[in-house]
Amino acid sequence: MTLPFDPVATLLLTPLAAAAVLALLPGFRLKAGLNVLASLVTLAAAASLLFSARPATGKFLLVDDLNIVFIVLGSFVGFTTSAFSATYVQHEIDTGRLAPAHLRFYHAMYQVLMFAMNLALVSNNIGLMWVAIELATLTTVVMVGIYRTHEALEAAWKYFILGSVGIALALFGTILVYVVAQPVIGEGLDSMAWTELMGRVGEFEPALLNVAFVFLLLGYGTKVGLAPVHAWLPDAHAEGPTPISAVLSGLLLNVALYAVLRFKILLAGNGAAFAPGPMMTAMGLTSVVFGAFMLYRRRDIKRMFGYSSIEHMGIITFAFGMGGPLANFAGLLHMTMHSLAKSGIFFAVGHISQVKGTQRIADIGGLTVTHPFLGWSLVVGVVAIAGLPPLGVFTSEFLVVSSTFARTPVLAIALVLGLSVGLGALLLRLNSLAFGEPRGSLQPARASYLPMSAHLAIVLCAGLYLPAPLVTWFQHVASILG
């Protein structure tokens, strides 16, 4: 593999080099700046993939229509979160919640996470992808536990154990895929390369492929946060630093979903294997209903949005499980909208909990009066994530529901039930958070408004008008997803 300057190398090497430098550099301000800069370069490299010619597919690396969506979305959220993180962490240091010693490797870890996620997305090898997702898990575990409180450590431990089990199951599935490919393709790396696997999947032994998919769905599904293997997700979202909650919801869940989707496409290529859709639909629907009901009676604001992530990953998985051009399109759109809206919400929630000095919903109130910008951002974000018009999430949810109604109305009824339950819970909480009687500290917030406004503005624009090139692009990707 000889790679002169090209976008893919930049995508991988920038975070890696930045991580090495950040691990050595002293001084917080400098590191935060460099973190933003490195994320910006990564984003530029990702964006250039859209316009330049595709790099040739190598033995290990692959860029195609499917993963570009994930790469661009991921790098964008990675960049805005790094900007948010700079303000957020500065505040934590000033208030003494985090000692500089705890933060020594924070930025290096952030970049390692970016590297791992980009590697998982561009890898042309199912083994390499697995290693990358494991690396991403490890770095996030370290960052979830960064506050070193009881709750943070328990959350990190739970995430660690459940994540490890998930990853172990995914590896067993990966091994099975190799075993099933090896008699057809032959020994060695070729039997683990996506490009080879996709080409010859029709000749694979279907029964073993089915078993492999069950393990892969359960394994990577743990990382997507699908019920019933979701238990780590709310804790990790609630107890980690808020930038990490944003990255988990906006990025890591999508990367795991990407792995599931790839294997789904693989399975669909084999006529004799069972249809992977219904299993995904079932897990997705369970997550929607479960997540929606769990939204009630949450007392911690970040934990509540963690459950909302379970619900939305459920919707996305459900849509991809239904399959077909329209549902896949809706799934892609919903994934994009959810990533942007949810990380935008976490930006707002992060600053809100800093200003108020608490994450308890009961102790926060009247935000639109006390902190108009943060309050209204939260309102817009929650209205978006609840799936109300005119924001982008409404468009995609509407597409998911209507395409389901056209095919299996029974499922659509269950889905709508879940969605409306979730909507009710969110609006109920929003009412006391944003309006109502002001509670908690009235100090002015020192916040970075740009990342959250950018995210919410995109979600709003997408709800009002979807540009034609984007629609054609997503339609094309949806057709690949089968």
């Binding site: 090896q182 073993l208 609630a238």
Partner: protein, 220 residues
Amino acid sequence: MPSMAFDTAHLLAGGLVLVSFVLLYQDRLYGLLNIYAIHAVALSASVAWQAYLQGAPHLYVTAGLALGFKAVIIPVALRRIIERLGIHREIEPVVGISLTMLAGMGLVALAMVVMLKVTTEAAPLAREDLAFALAVVLLGLLMMTTRRNAVSQVVGFMSLENGLILAATGAQGMPLVVEISFAFSILIAFIVIGIFLFRIRERFDTVDLQALHRFRGEAR
């Protein structure tokens, strides 16, 4: 000779399943660690035998890693952690031992039925290996779910991971096996260091997960 080779591979992989069962009924932590060391030795022998059969010298690295890291370093480190932290030496299972053993037998039967049924096309050596490996993985999961104590959960996870390495080496000529076994060793080292750091330096006074559940974020 080939039948001899098969029989030895089966003997070693089957031995691993057997040791997994022995892990299931341990009621003392030190005993558990000793049995885990035997588990790792059985894995190492099995991997070395596969390396010899497949003529794949790089697998010896994985075998060596299993022997040195998992059979010696990890049990010794965990033993010292137990001493330093003063963890209760008894294991309190969630469900009774006999019920666990019965469930374990059911899981092994399930693994055999499923894997042997679906792998009719695969290479015969890989076939039985995969069935044994799945049995070890499921037994490891069973152990993780039926124990409350964090150290025994970790041992359950490590035995599960041994099953994965067995599966990976059983797959003829699978690339990246050594890398994956290294990645897993790092993961395990992280877990062990995690137990140590979190409990010693911070305010935990027990590694019993039940005690941790009191600190759920909701119950403030």
